[in-house]
Amino acid sequence: MANYEAVIGLEVHAQLLTRGKIFCSAPVHNDGEPNTSVGSVSAGLPGSLPVLNRHAVELAVRAGFACRCAINPVSRFARKNYFYPDLPKGYQISQFDEPICGEGWLDIASDEAGTQIRRVRIQRIHIEEDAGQLFHVASSTLVNLNRAGTPLIEIVGHPDLRSALEAKNYLKVLHSLLVHTGVTDGNLEQGNFRCDANVSIRKVGDTKLHTRTEIKNVNSFRFVELAIEFEIARQIAVVESGGKVIQETRGWDAAASKTFSMRTKEDADDYRYFPDPDLPPVVLSPDWIERIRSEVPELPDEKKRRLQSDMGLSDSEAKLLLEHRDWHVYIDELCTHDIGAKLAASWVISDLVGELNHLSKTFAENPFSASRMAELLKLLQGKKVSRRQAKELLIWWMKHPDASIVEHVKNENLVQVDDAGALEGWVDTIIREHPERVAEFLSGKDKLFAFLMGQVMKLSQGKANPEKISAALKKKLEALRP
């Protein structure tokens, strides 16, 4: 089976975060009482006319920038004609041959570790209206038009993905981009971010595209991965047993964990697209496009790269920080109190979060404001206490959050000792008390250096400056070599 590869392209629908619907003033209220948020346009009343919500255009262009798409200065709406009870006008207003955004790309990880990167090309982004929803009860069908006319963008990817994992990663990256830039709320449960997956297989080395199937409306990252994995295996089995994959639309049955045939393309509709005469072309001026570009927040991967270099974070630390906006805000606040960015970041990500976790507290339950935490970090930054002392101070402080940490350090005389005389005295004592260990060290057991260091620290009650201890200990031990 290893000699097959999958060719996958995703079409993602994201609901735009506008207050009103795309072509009328009715508010977007998907989860309200059925049919309570329906304007004359979304109800398809005779005589009603669509008028474009400019905010939807703005968000679509913002999505374009997030996906590095070309922005088309002129785009047009078209009608997609078909009869269905959730579509009161008998046509969906969409964009066809003149979409708002053209070619773009996203970088995604193609393995679990995130070390292999694949660039996935985006073909286009277009704006369209959502349809209503149908509920089948007993012998009848009910229509809820709350969702009708809700603004969507469809992001159409090229068939550049080669595995179910890549598809999942692509979806995750796209989701975080669009949520991060405020284009969509990305709510998966409500179907505000959902995708159709086009899947085909071919022998490795083959460059042709083969007959594909389309899995409709999958709205979870995990299900996309599972559905595509199932579909790839199914298609391989079909081909291996001498059959042919037929072009069809398939659904995902989450309970049974498999895809199933919904309809074959033979009975596909002819949508009779034509330019919607009710809507003038969308013409965007260069100034307007530039303004939207300037308002797009820094993209997550650019930000991650910046965090890694500015804060000296590892890839995984930077990722953690991107996922936790509140940590980031806290670190920025620490920096305004003259704490270095690198120290602040490593302190928050490993020490503070670690200690909160240990106490089963959330970050929001952190008892220390940034300005108070900065008092402790200043001691560490000024080498008044060692890292280990600082950590111990934090543990103590968590139990006495109302206390002043500066007072505590003073009262307990916890300040780090870097007086050469005192340090040398401690080192001499330890060398004298552990002659066997010293001998073993000198005979080549390098690991014992750490033991001896520990003993000195213990003797100093943790107050010794570890750098200086290390230097002094090394010097004295070397002097003992024959």
């Binding site: 005589g47 008028v51 009869f83 046509y91 002819d270 009779r272 034509f274 809507l279």
Partner: protein, 486 residues
């Protein structure tokens, strides 16, 4: 005294020699009498009209002097009036009650006009004779054996019968102008985008315009002034400043609007066979204009002959989509039919029963023209030719102020004489289609130089948004007694 002639009716109301309630009662009585003779109405709105009239009288007492205050107006039954049925003369909408008013209707009522009736039409505006209606044909009050024209035949007939001073029609390919010509009245199709289409049931969205109809240009000016202007509810509504059409018309009377007027007559008219009475009136009008100092020349609109096929591809394509919403479930008759029908079956059943023959024909033609594999050859090609027609007009207006043609190649034809031959019926719109496709304003007005047996209409077309020019020229002619209107 003929209170239902707009300028006289306005004068009488202003002098308080008649109240709006009295005038409205008279209008309602005449409408009832006409209904039995000519069938021009889908509904006579007695209650609404009398209540509006009483309010208008109160406003006048309070010092309001709006031109349309208290004036009876008829509205084509393709335009929504809140709380009243709006049928489009179609069985599929026979019980549809409008939940809101069209912008044009809101503006009319705000101006104090009294809406007295909803007038009959060819179903959804598709026709040229008012014979394509689910609720019976409309007869021409000037000769009840003949058609009033269409599709705004009910509005034209209501005016010709003297039931109202003013009426709203709608024009997609000539539906205001051709019935105006057949019924001997004046009708204007404004520039596309001049009047909001919000609340007008769409037939062909890129062509539809609501237009004023009246006995004369002055009435049209007053009505246009009330309804024109940008509307936030219509994305195709024009931002261009609207004029004070009535005021401009009245102040232009001190000038001679015919002297030096450059009038172009398209040479392509040679290819159209005109009824002798029509040809005679055209020649006489041309001579009259020249005698009054106008400069009449021949212009060329090379794609004029392609207007008819272009129009029928575009209007049927748009209609096939616009009429999809009438599925028998959301509006109209409700889902009905044999129990075992699938959803497609229900739609087919409701639409097959609910739409008349001409509507079904046009929906099928349009569906075909938009289908995969045919789109490029039909819809796309038609859209390209339409641009050429637009350019023809832009070119012609570099040399002339207005373009003159007859409104229709003929006068009112006998009822039933065209119904079996759609192409012959469509030919009635040959002269009106080009202005629709180009989006320019065009007016039809009656002339009677040769004393024809039936009314004959002449058409003047002006550049985009130059409605005032058309109204002023026709007003001048009418004040010279042309068309028997003084």
């Amino acid at each position: 005294m003929d209170y239902l002639h707009f300028s006289r009716c306005r004068e009488a109301l202003e002098k308080r020699s008649v109240s709006s309630v009295e005038l409205t009662r008279q209008s309602l009585d005449r409408a009832c009498a006409s209904q039995t003779k000519y069938n021009p109405y889908m509904a006579i709105l007695e209650k609404r009209a009398l209540s509006s009239a009483a309010q208008a009288d109160a406003r006048r007492k309070a010092g309001d002097r709006a031109p349309l205050l208290g004036v009876p107006v008829a509205v084509k039954d393709l335009i929504l009036v809140e709380g009243e049925k709006c049928t489009a003369s179609s069985k599929i909408l026979e019980n549809f009650v409008a939940p809101y008013s069209a912008t044009a209707v809101d503006r009319l009522e705000a101006a104090g006009a009294v809406i007295v009736s909803k007038t009959a039409l060819d179903e959804f505006g598709m026709g040229s004779s008012n014979e394509n209606s689910a609720f019976g044909v409309v007869r021409n009050p000037l000769d009840p054996s003949r058609a009033p024209g269409g599709s705004s035949g009910g509005s034209a007939a209501a005016l010709a019968a003297g039931d109202v001073s003013l009426a709203l029609g709608t024009d997609t390919g000539g539906s205001v102008r051709q019935p105006a010509a057949f019924c001997g009245i004046t009708g204007l199709k404004p520039t596309y985008g001049r009047v909001s289409r919000y609340g007008l049931m769409a037939f062909a969205s890129s062509l539809d315009q609501i237009g004023p109809m009246a006995r004369d240009a002055e009435g049209c000016a007053a009505l246009l002034e009330a309804i024109a202007g940008f509307d936030i509810h219509d994305g195709t509504s024009a931002q261009a400043q609207r004029s004070s059409y009535l005021q401009e018309l009245i102040s232009s009377r001190s000038l001679d609007s015919l002297k030096g007027l450059r009038v172009g007559v398209p040479q392509e008219l040679d290819g159209i066979s005109l009824e002798p009475a029509v040809a005679g009136e055209l020649a006489a009008l041309r001579a009259h204009l020249e005698s009054r100092g106008a400069l009449v020349t021949t212009v060329s609109l090379p794609h004029f002959p392609l207007a008819l096929p272009t129009y029928y591809v575009i209007c049927t394509s748009e209609a096939s989509s616009n009429l999809s919403r009438y599925n028998g479930i959301h509006t109209g008759r409700g889902a009905s039919g044999p129990e075992e029908l699938s959803i497609e079956g229900l739609y087919s059943h409701a639409r097959g029963e609910g739409f008349g023959e001409e509507v079904r024909l046009r929906v099928l033609l349009g569906t075909y023209a938009l289908s995969a594999g045919y789109y490029d050859a039909y819809y796309k090609r038609a859209a390209q030719v339409r641009r050429l027609i637009y350019r023809d007009f832009a070119q012609a207006y570099k040399g002339v102020d207005v373009i003159l043609t007859p409104t229709a190649p003929e006068s009112a034809f006998e009822l039933g004489s065209r119904t079996s031959d759609p192409l012959k019926m469509y030919a009635s719109d040959l002269c009106t289609l080009p202005a629709s496709l180009a989006g320019v304003p065009a007016i039809s007005f009656p002339t009677n130089f040769t004393k024809p047996k039936l009314p004959v209409g002449m058409q003047l077309m002006a550049p985009w948004f130059a409605e005032s020019k058309l109204l002023q020229v026709v007003d001048t002619l009418q004040r010279q007694g042309i068309g028997g209107v003084v």
